[in-house]
């Protein structure tokens, strides 16, 4: 039990995928203009990440490993991720058209979110078992959602600020992301 809690704390805060490992920066910068959109993106990513993490674990340990095809893991994982994303996109389109509009191009781009593939590959290198993989994927996604929402609310505030013209928009967002990452270093050394 304790190890699962530790995995969660580690992935959500200490080794946050966005602010500490710098994965998944594309949606982090792209969909963080509005808090609602960021939350939606986070939830969609949570779904995809957890599912693809489990799915890639299954593919790896039950299909690739027995046949000695570990060298094909990247292709296989991308295939699985793409399928899950496609499925999510259709489901979101049907169930919440507004969210679908809000997420726009970023929804299909979850496919190329490096955090998703990163989780799948890290599961392999860290020899996580089935449950650990699930928790790892879920924790990574929760951490992603958390910083997305926090960052988006910060950006909403910064947008209304008197930021010097050369720094308006993306530059100040990047600086803010950097400073956030600095703040997250405070968690350093807690869980390895």
């Amino acid at each position: 039990m304790q190890e699962y809690v530790l995995i969660l704390i580690s992935t959500v805060l200490v080794n946050n995928f966005v602010l500490v490992k710098f994965l998944g920066l594309c949606p982090f910068m792209g969909v963080s203009k509005k808090t609602d959109a960021a939350l939606g993106m986070g939830l969609a990513t949570t779904f995809v990440l957890t599912l693809s993490s489990v799915l890639s674990y299954i593919i790896y340990s039950y299909l690739l490993q027995p046949f000695g095809l570990e060298y094909l893991q990247t292709i296989a994982f991308i295939l699985a991720i793409a399928a899950v994303v496609g499925f999510t996109e259709m489901a979101v389109h049907k169930t919440s058209p507004t969210l679908y509009q809000v997420l726009g191009i970023y929804l299909p781009l979850i496919t190329t979110n490096c955090a998703v593939l990163g989780v799948a590959l890290l599961n392999v290198t860290e020899n996580n078992n089935f449950l650990e993989s699930a928790f790892f994927g879920f924790g990574a996604a929760v951490g992603f959602t958390l910083v997305m929402v926090l960052f988006a609310s910060l950006r909403e505030r910064i947008d209304a600020s008197d930021v010097p013209a050369p720094f308006k928009g993306a530059p100040i967002a990047l600086i803010t992301a950097g400073l956030m990452s600095m703040a997250f270093m405070g968690f350093g050394g807690m869980v390895h």
């Binding site: 295939l79 399928a83 496609g86 489901a91 049907k94 058209p97 509009q101």
Partner: protein, 210 residues
């Protein structure tokens, strides 16, 4: 030789299998989550100003919204909506925002049409041109504009043969008078500083320096 062959076959088989499984899954999803219609057009239509002026070259706001939803046209064609609407559209459609071509029309206060009733000959041309049926009148009788329903699209003015229609801003009364946005001392002192460097900087409405 044999191991090599088996591993290739296994790889092919596994990937074919995976492809079939995922294909079936997606196929099922496509049927299960089928979406009727295009909700995007509706959404775009909501942010358009509904003046029905046709300056976007479409016959009205809805056709423009539909064309946008299909991605067949540019986001910067709505002149009455201005940059604000353009940004909203680009956010909905995910298309790249584009500068407005006709910038002078922006921030133009909303005007409504007035018919000079002494000049009007009652030709009904403006009635036919009005996209929202806001002009009343009959043949050879004087016409008049229902002010509350005029969208200020300016479609009636050009068709008038005697030029009796002009566009006027609404008159200010106690009922519709608005408190102006306060000009803080910071902004006014900024303006002084900016005037000194006016050849370098352009100040926009909100006090940001461009």
């Amino acid at each position: 030789m044999e191991g090599w062959f088996i591993s290739i076959t296994a790889a092919i088989l596994i990937f074919v299998g995976l492809a079939i499984v995922f294909g079936l899954l997606l196929g099922y999803a496509a049927i299960r989550f089928k979406v009727e219609g295009n909700p995007m057009a509706e959404q775009i239509d909501k942010v358009l100003p509904q003046t029905q002026c046709g300056q976007c070259t479409f016959p009205g706001c809805k056709p423009y919204a539909e064309a946008l939803a299909k991605g067949e046209t540019e986001v910067n064609l709505c002149v009455p909506g201005g940059t604000d609407t353009m940004i909203l559209i680009s956010e909905i459609t995910g298309l790249e925002p584009k500068e407005m071509e006709n910038t002078e029309a922006e921030h133009k206060p909303k005007e409504t049409a007035f018919i000079d009733e002494d000049v009007c000959i009652g030709c009904v041309l403006c009635i036919k041109a009005c996209p929202v049926d806001a002009i009343l009148g009959a043949t050879k009788l004087m016409h008049t504009v229902i002010q509350s329903e005029c969208t200020g699209c300016d479609k009636c003015a050009p068709v008038c043969p005697v030029d009796c229609i002009d566009m006027r801003p609404p008159s200010v009364s106690i009922d519709n008078w608005q408190w102006p946005e306060p000009k803080t001392k910071l902004e006014s002192s900024l303006e002084i500083t900016l005037k000194q460097n006016s050849n370098l900087l352009i100040k926009n409405q909100k006090g940001e320096i461009k």
